[in-house]
Amino acid sequence: MPGTERHTEENLLPNSFGFRYSTNPHVEEEKWERRRLCRSFMKLFAKGAPAQEPARPQILVGSIPASVLASAQAVGLSGENCLFSIRSDMDLRGRPCEVWLVVGHDRMAAFTADRLEVRVLSGPFEWRKASKVRNYQTVGSMFLQLRLDEMYVDVVRFSNGFRESFGRAVVQLQRLLKGEPLNPDALKAPSETRCNVCGLPLPGLRASCPRCAKRRGIFSRTLTLMQPYWLSIFALLSMMLLGVMLDLIPPQLTRYLVDHVLKPESADMLAGNSNGGFQGFLERMVLGSASWTRGDRMGILVVILACLVAASAIRQGVNIFIGRVSSLIGTRITKELRERLHRHLLHLSVDYYNRHSAGNLMSRVLYDVDYFQGFVHQVAHGFLLNLLLVLGIGTVLFFMNTRLAVVVLLPIPFVMVGTTFFWRHIYPRYYRLWDSQSKMAQLLTGFLQGIRLVKAFSQEERERARFSSSAGYMQQARRSVEMSMATFNPIMGFVFGLGGLLIWWAGGEKVLRGLSGEEGGITLGTLMAFFGYMGMFYGPISQLTMFSNWVTGFLSAGQRVFEVLDSSQMLPEEPRPVRLSAMKGAIELRNVTFGYDPYHPILKNVSLTIEPGRFVGIVGKSGSGKTTLVNVICRFYDVQQGSVLLDGVDVRKIATEDLHRHIGLVLQEPFLFRASIAENIAYGRPDAPPSAIMDAAKAANAHDFIARRPNGYDMKLGENGSGLSGGERQRISIARALLCDPRILILDEATSSVDTESELEIQKALMNLCKGRTTLAIAHRLSTLKNADRIFVMDDGRIVEEGTHEELLAREGIYSKLVRIQTELSRLEGGHDG
């Protein structure tokens, strides 16, 4: 009985998620429950991201969970004859419940642990009688199916979160069906989709866990970007402090001016004798303003004005310094960030680009990065400056007169509450505006790229309507934002204005009290100074309320930028890669299985060998896996099973630059850069001399048409080679491949998109290109492969035929059928032409 087993360290094994588990299911379940309770307890005190439930064991090798043991025994499945049990999260109709598939030596069945009555969900199935077993993907879930009686039968259903464990189970069942032994280690391998430490789902297969890697927030990471400039930033902050102090001076000088210099005194005094020279002047200064003559006052007025001018000049000097330094830092940071993004984009796998539109990535590099310059600006001019001003001026106000300072603060709570409500109201409107802008950009890009199609189908009116609808959406979104702003800003202005009126009321009363000599009065100069400071106080407050707007924009832009930088969809590089300075060009695929979605294989157990220097053709209908085969040979993707070898070395171990240096690729749609013809040909060898470039062009049958251009090889090409015909573009791409002298040449439908005359020219060029190289040619036009040393025929991700043209014709299989169809088509085309 499982419950009576002894539990030693030996029978505690790591399960598929890295937890150690007992071969005794009772102990295992108990431990899981304990861990879950512990995690729930910790959650009460945890801050930050919600804690993840610990990953519960999904596969038990050689045992049946206690919850379904009785049901399993009832259908003849027991602990002794159980190979493994695997957990699912739903029944066949998709209702959530705990389900266990128990696989015995001869039979399997699915049981629910949740229901008391009907516990057998499906089966038992005599699975050894099945011809095949597979996982079948539907929308949002999968089925493990057995092929029984010439049809696939659903055994158990599971959500996509269980794909990894069922993927492993199916591999083992396939092995068992072939008569191979069960590999328990493969079932127990650590998860590649969840973190084995914290259980958090990983951003990609085998990617590092963002939680355990302690990835920081956007602000914190932006500050890290600024680290190299800490000296400049320190200088900026110092200047900013100086600026704030300078801003505090003018109102104080004004106050002195009003209270002491421009103060009305008796006419006698103003007309008094100002003799006595400088000493006399100093004496009168000590005696106070009452003894000042008109001349004295004029002198002081000039001095104060000079101080005001100096303060203003220094302030502007400080502003110039802050502006220039912040611009220097800001532009450097954005340049570096753009370069980092570009570098990262260069190293991302092809798969990443399949998932993201070019326009979307462009806008991140071009526009979102600009927000980081805004960050520096905010540090220098915005948030910090305003905060310092509010603190500095607030302190001065309280020093000058506490009661008046409180009156100045009265509107602030209303402003804060109003702003909070306002931003709640306007956030969704802002997001809609950004969404509308993005959608319009996408619409325009599509329209401009497909303009010929629009004209060919006479859909100008429809496009006009679509654009009008998009423009209308954008107009609505913008109007909504601007109308909200147009309402909010005057209201806030009114609230601030009320603050000013309150100061007039309270301050005026105090001035009058001061004039009549009562206690608690203030001078007119103090009131004037208060007004001066009040303007300087409300301005930054108003700016600070708008800060959240900027933060929202910055956070979303920062998220888009860091999203690219954090993308881990890069192919792993060996720490010590194999360097291949020379290559013979042997290609071998050993039992390769690969799918762009790992759970949907495109290539299924493909094996082939190509000797160096051979010309090999790959044929097959669309979707049969031809281009995928090329993609794995070039290592644009890593295979999920098996290996691809070049000269006997696994491509995953070869240094990427060596690998790509030895492989030349000519695609159906040649890509040319916005550069001269010469630069395009020399793209893979920028140091190639003009003579080599011309030789390559000559061999590619491109030299003559280039020579006819007014600017010859210096002709600048437009976007994607505009200005050249399709055939011409293709010949330039062939010249580009020739110049690099690759040992392996891959031609992916190189002639299928050009006219017959161009095809002839290109075929001649290709004959030159293929000499002495291993050539892999994918072609729909089978006539181009007649002279191939070997032809592989692909169907549904497998190589189904192999041989020379004659051998394959004689076999009367798929190839001969394809040849017959093409011959018939050519005859029909010939008939029409005739």
């Binding site: 991201a49 929308v139 010439e150 049809m151 659903d154 979160g161 951003p203 860091f562 999203e563």
Partner: protein, 189 residues
């Protein structure tokens, strides 16, 4: 687009009849017998086409026409998915058939519909959702990436969590205002 599609189906076009001759096979009660066979799987007998066993139903327009244009498919001996034909209107079939086809559709789609969004927390570039779906209160984690939240029809969104499970918001505008505000704070595209 939806209006366009409806327009395409309602306005007769001179070439439609020609296209129909080489188009998909229409499955009607007159030419098709659908029934539940061995292993409780859907079986389908088509006049002139023979018997197909282990048949699956797939919606061709799951968002714009969720009740119509149902493709019946099977896996052939080479493991390739093949179409038997398309039921344009399930309502013209007897009730038992309708039940059987709907049962098959239940197996084909597993999408949780979000009714409420209680909170979204952003940490480590991941969004931690706390929602109420048709199955009750749930939590899931998704990467904060544009390709993980796609459009679903004109106004909806489909969210793919980190394990590729699908969560549908049929119409973002119909979420309660507070929930919508939380949602568009993060999923604004």
């Amino acid at each position: 687009m939806m209006a366009d599609a409806q327009q395409r189906t309602s306005v007769p076009f001179p070439g439609d009849e020609t296209l129909r001759q080489t188009g998909y096979r229409r499955l009607t009660p007159d030419n098709t017998r659908i029934f539940e066979g061995s292993f409780s799987l859907l079986h389908c007998h088509v006049e002139g086409g023979g018997l197909y066993r282990g048949v699956r139903a797939v919606l061709m327009f799951p968002i714009s026409h969720p009740d119509r244009y149902i493709s019946l498919r099977y896996t052939d001996e080479r493991d390739q998915d093949q179409e038997i034909g398309v039921i344009e209107d399930l309502l013209v079939f007897p009730e038992a058939v309708r039940q059987a086809v709907r049962e098959s559709l239940v197996r084909q789609y597993y999408e949780r519909v979000i009714h409420r969004i209680h909170s979204i927390e952003c940490n480590y570039g991941l969004l931690f959702f706390d929602v109420t779906t048709g199955q009750g209160r749930e939590r899931f984690v998704m990467q904060w990436r544009h390709d993980r939240a796609e459009d679903y029809g004109e106004t909806g969104k489909v969210l793919l969590d980190s394990l590729d499970n699908r969560y549908i918001i049929p119409d973002v505008e119909k979420l309660p205002a507070a929930d919508r505000r939380v949602f568009v704070n993060y999923i604004y595209w």
